[in-house]
């Protein structure tokens, strides 16, 4: 069976114009994500998670290696993938409705249908009544939910999510996690989910990928065998804590290694 999404030895070097040197952000990522799989990526800050999502989306061309969707090489963004950006990146001159509708406009969906679909997802993320508000009138968490709705509304097969719940309070975060699982189950999406919260990664995912420190590599892939549907209570079970500790120690190694490097140089 071919993977829904595959990264083959993806490398990425950023050109640093000031020093005219290269900064290696990704050093050969190999990853296969099956159709309908929910995969999280965790790793130390600055290890290239956002960069990897951008390459998968097609926003940044890989320096080497390639990305395949359904076995076909992709080099630019397409309606089969959508990103929930790390910083909400809303268009400040558009209302909530205008922002959520944005992707549909790019796809030239008719105004009437666009409005209907956008309204549906605004309700889904719990922002009904805020359709006509501008981003500056929303809290950080509300902006992030608009960001999520904006990605969902184009109905992508693959969702690329970059710490989408990082700015939410604990309660809203849990509600959103459950919503996301519902959407994922119902709409049979494939999700690549970046987070710093290890418990979030475990709770949501079929598999957690641990990245090494910069330059990013796949350090380990940890399957999460907890049965679905998962209740919130699983977060307090011993098995859950076992996985959590394993991931922690993997990341900790790299964080420590990096800090030592910094103090040495």
């Amino acid at each position: 069976m071919i993977a829904k999404l595959e990264a083959q030895d993806v490398r990425l070097d950023y050109l640093q114009p000031r020093s005219n040197s290269q900064l290696r952000a990704l050093a050969g990522i190999d990853l296969k994500v099956m159709d309908g799989e929910f995969v999280s990526i965790v790793g130390p800050s600055g290890c290239g998670k956002t960069t990897f999502l951008s390459v998968v989306d097609g926003l940044i061309p890989a320096s080497a290696g390639r990305i395949l969707v359904d076995g076909r090489v992709v080099t630019k963004p397409g309606p089969d993938r959508a990103v929930v950006f790390q910083d909400a990146s809303l268009l400040p001159w558009r209302t909530v409705l205008g922002n959520v509708r944005y992707g549909l406009e790019c796809l030239k969906v008719g105004a009437r249908e666009a409005k209907e679909r956008a309204t549906h997802f605004i309700n889904l993320v719990g922002l009904s009544g805020f359709e006509d508000h501008y981003p500056y009138e929303l809290s950080g968490g509300m902006q992030q939910r608009v960001n999520l709705a904006r990605a969902l509304v184009v109905d992508p097969k693959i969702l690329l999510m970059d710490e989408p719940f990082a700015s939410l309070d604990a309660q809203t975060r849990e509600v959103m996690q459950e919503e996301l699982l519902q959407i994922w189950l119902k709409a049979k999406k494939t999700v690549l989910f970046v987070t710093h919260q290890i418990d979030e990664a475990i709770y949501l995912s079929d598999r957690v990928i641990v990245f090494s420190g910069r330059p990013g590599r796949v350090k380990q892939s940890i399957p999460v065998t907890i049965e679905r549907p998962r209740r919130l209570a699983v977060k307090r079970e011993a098995h859950f804590h076992g996985i959590e500790d394993a991931i922690w120690s993997l990341i900790e190694e790299d964080v420590r290694a990096e800090r030592n490097q910094v103090t040495l140089t």
């Binding site: 926003l59 963004p77 268009l91 400040p92 001159w93 944005y102 406009e105 501008y134 981003p135």
Partner: protein, 276 residues
């Protein structure tokens, strides 16, 4: 707090502004009528006479008001000048907007075009553009096209430079959003670049309005049959100081009104801005 103080604080901006203007007008009127000379004579003796200025030198608010009333409502002569100048001004400004903004936007968008026009913009920016007036007269003679050209030349730079800067400072994160949703180049321009440029473009327009006014005056120095600038020049040559002031103040009023219009548009367009 007493009611009077509260009322003052509520309208402080208007009250202080009006008060300063009134003080200036009274001081001015007093110079022409010799109020200050008479009042200070016991103190300063004969040298107080220096505070009595000839109307030909300084005119006075009442003289100017009288002249304005005559020119606007009795003889009506100024309307012809106003219409004449407005025609050149509006043509020049429209031309500057129609060429400067697209040129600036395109320059911000296409790096090569930016490299190509940069030397001209830099040179034009570093010269006082009125220095081109003799050349313009050699090329097109005196008349409407000369006036339009000099106004255009003065107004086009802030428009082009602001449009250029607007495109270059577009938030790269928003460009990424558009790219991620597969926006075409035209969609990117229309949905991201253009809306985020609007505040810059309007600020450029405000600058252009003021600079174009310079063109009204200098463009009519040579051989213009009518116009506010020509009227100011002729009145100046004949020491009709009150008429000079009427002309200058008319231009000031026109500029203030135009800038106010643009500011209203700005407030309208930028309701999405975080109120400071």
């Amino acid at each position: 707090m007493p009611a009077a103080v509260r009322a003052y604080l509520a309208h402080e901006r208007v009250i202080l502004g009006t008060l300063m203007v009134l003080l200036l007008l009274i001081a001015w009127e007093g110079l022409e009528r010799g109020w200050w000379a008479d009042a200070l004579r016991p103190l300063l003796g004969d040298s107080a006479q220096r505070l009595r200025l000839k109307p030909i030198f300084i005119s006075s608010p009442t003289l100017i008001a009288a002249a304005a009333f005559r020119m606007f409502f009795v003889t009506g002569e100024i309307w012809r000048d106003l219409a004449w100048s407005s025609a050149g001004y509006l043509l020049g400004l429209v031309l500057a907007v129609a060429i400067g903004i697209p040129l600036g936007l395109a320059g911000g968008w296409y790096r090569r075009l930016s490299y190509a026009v940069q030397p001209f913009l830099a040179a034009l920016n570093a010269t006082p553009q009125v220095a081109f007036l003799p050349l313009i007269i050699i090329w097109v003679g005196t008349g409407l096209s000369e006036r339009v050209l000099i106004i255009f030349l003065l107004a086009v730079l802030p428009l082009a430079i602001n449009a250029h800067a607007a495109v270059r400072t577009t938030d790269p994160r928003l460009i990424k959003v558009a790219g991620s949703f597969g926006a075409s180049e035209w969609q990117l321009f229309r949905t991201i670049i253009l809306p985020s440029s609007v505040p810059f473009l309007l600020a450029g327009l405000r600058l252009a309005i003021g600079r174009g006014m310079i063109g009204v005056v200098v463009g009519e120095i040579y051989g213009s049959a009518a116009g506010l600038g020509a009227m100011i020049n002729q009145a100046g040559a004949r020491f009709q100081t009150d008429r000079v002031f009427v002309g200058v103040l008319t231009i000031v009023a026109a500029g203030v009104i135009l800038v106010e219009v643009v500011q209203r548009i700005e407030r309208r367009v930028e309701i999405w801005r975080t109120p400071a």
